[in-house]
């Protein structure tokens, strides 16, 4: 570990707030603040939390022709989503796929009128940018932004951000707008990674500290570390790239086929035409042999990633836990993992091998907690 960790624009602020720092995707990031993971998690569900997600990659695709449709069509070569049909000011979730139908990264794509705006995972950023330059550099300028990215999440997020700009209250889930917050030009999306209502704010790097200070002036807003970010997204049933999804899991196996719209499926107007289309479209038709499921251990012991899953207490391993821990809002252990399709129905009881002992685990529907998105 001699490699120097990168720092976000808020690094000094995290340290001065008393955060415990840890290396994550090459960045020195806050794992928790003095309040601790449990309190931080519950604060986001009850009020509002502020997350520094500046480590994530922010990328702009600008069509050389000037026509956004050209950029959208080019991006559709790499991603099985409907980018062409994405309205200006709207954002969608998508996946980069590989030739065998595996997932190279998950991302958000926003239509910003004259360009597309992408937010990708920190650990995949370099690979994604290379993929974009190779895959659509003929059609688009690929620009990597060095900006801050903040997430304000929780039922109080709208009120907290509305103090800086009343118009955020007019946005609904997955809307994207450019706004000026007391002189700071930002791009705001109504989205997040917690299962709560909230916003992600792309902000010029040098103004990230000021914006953070203003948001934290609201006593209902607490800074939240990566520890609670993980337990929040797990309760919301959201995948963590590199854990729940990777180059060896397909979107259908990962229970993410909802992210592939009819227009890109067999029979659609722009069916296929993305890496691994034969595998993925075949699985949409015929089903996948294994599926990502929600799991609730019947005891109180959390099951962490890597715990093997068995149909019977003396049977062979048929799958494993990919994310797992304790859900503060659920008040008990929870996990996600992969099981053969025939064992994936909610209510099915399987066994997890925990410290040499077989413990019962129940398959449950995802998410574990009801989302608070503002859809209407």
């Amino acid at each position: 570990m001699t490699e120097q960790l990168h720092r976000t624009p808020l690094h000094g602020m995290h340290v001065s707030l008393g955060a415990k720092m840890t290396g994550f995707a090459g960045f020195d990031m806050p794992i928790q603040y003095p309040a601790g993971v449990l309190a931080e998690h519950l604060h986001v569900r009850g009020q509002a939390g502020l997350f520094d997600v500046s480590h994530m990659g922010q990328v702009i695709l600008r069509p050389k022709s000037g026509s956004l449709r050209d950029a959208a069509l080019a991006l559709e070569r790499l991603i099985p989503m409907d980018v062409v049909g994405l309205a200006e000011g709207r954002q969608r979730y998508g996946l980069f796929t590989n030739a065998v139908g595996g997932i190279l990264d998950d991302l958000m794509v926003a239509n910003r009128g004259d360009h597309l705006f992408l937010v990708v995972n920190a650990a995949c950023k370099a690979q994604d940018v290379a993929l974009l330059r190779t895959g659509l550099g003929d059609v688009c300028e690929v620009e990597v932004l060095e900006r801050g990215l903040l997430a304000v999440q929780g039922p109080g997020a709208e009120a907290a951000l509305a103090r800086l700009h009343a118009d955020v209250a007019l946005m609904r889930f997955m809307d994207v707008r450019a706004l000026n917050l007391r002189g700071i030009p930002v791009v705001v999306s109504r989205s997040g990674y917690t299962g709560e209502d909230g916003f992600e704010i792309s902000v010029p790097a040098e103004m990230t500290v000021d914006l953070t200070r203003w948001l934290l002036e609201d006593p209902s807003v607490l800074p939240i570390g990566l520890g609670a970010r993980d337990s929040l997204r797990l309760e919301a049933g959201l995948c963590l790239y590199g854990q729940d999804i990777d180059a060896n899991t397909t979107p259908v196996e990962a229970a993410l086929k909802w992210a592939i719209p009819a227009v890109r499926r067999t029979g659609g107007a722009r069916a296929g035409g993305f890496p691994g289309a034969d595998v993925i479209l075949g699985q949409i038709e015929a089903g996948a042999a294994r599926l990502r499921v929600g799991l609730v251990p019947e005891g109180r012991a959390p099951m962490r990633p890597g715990v093997s899953l068995h149909q019977t207490a003396d049977g062979p391993a048929l799958g494993s836990v990919t994310s797992g821990g304790f859900g503060p809002s659920l008040g008990g252990p929870l996990a996600m993992g992969y099981l053969p399709a025939e064992l994936s129905a909610p209510g099915t009881v399987v066994f997890g091998l925990l410290r040499g002992k077989m413990s019962a685990v129940r398959v449950v529907p995802l998410p574990f907690v009801k989302p608070g998105f503002k859809r209407a």
């Binding site: 794992i31 601790g36 449990l38 998690h41 520890g227 109180r300 012991a301 959390p302 962490r304 304790f326």
Partner: protein, 120 residues
């Protein structure tokens, strides 16, 4: 007077028994505990043997037997409410009581000053 192990346990002599728990430093490093599994009362244990499993919101860890001996009593309150260990590690958050095979071995453990130096 408390004695300390390098595994961040404290031991308090209480008649023929010692009470064992984890230090404030350990509780803070572990983060919020959400699960504790304690050994059976009456179990004979060997120094260094993993006898307690604890899980925080972050990770699983083991607590080892501080010395050779026999478990005489466990604290059911921390199984029911693991957060007690974070709130009060030195009193209500104790883990178990044990008799020592050789009480003189206590002398080989760190005292408070030595432990403070150890974690500094």
């Amino acid at each position: 007077m408390l004695k300390y192990t390098e595994e961040h346990e404290w031991l308090k002599l209480d008649g023929d028994e010692v009470i064992v728990g984890i230090t404030e430093h350990a509780a803070e490093q572990l983060g919020d505990l959400v699960f504790v599994e304690l050994p059976e009362e009456g179990k004979t244990v060997v120094k260094g043997e993993e006898i307690v499993t604890i899980e925080s919101v972050k990770a699983a860890s083991d607590i080892v037997a501080p010395l050779d001996g026999q478990i005489t009593e466990i604290n059911p309150a921390i199984v029911e409410t693991p957060a007690l260990v974070n709130e009060d590690p030195l009193e209500n958050g104790w883990f178990f009581k044990m008799t020592l095979a050789d009480p003189s071995e206590l002398d080989g453990l760190m005292d408070e000053d030595e432990y403070r130096e150890y974690i500094a």
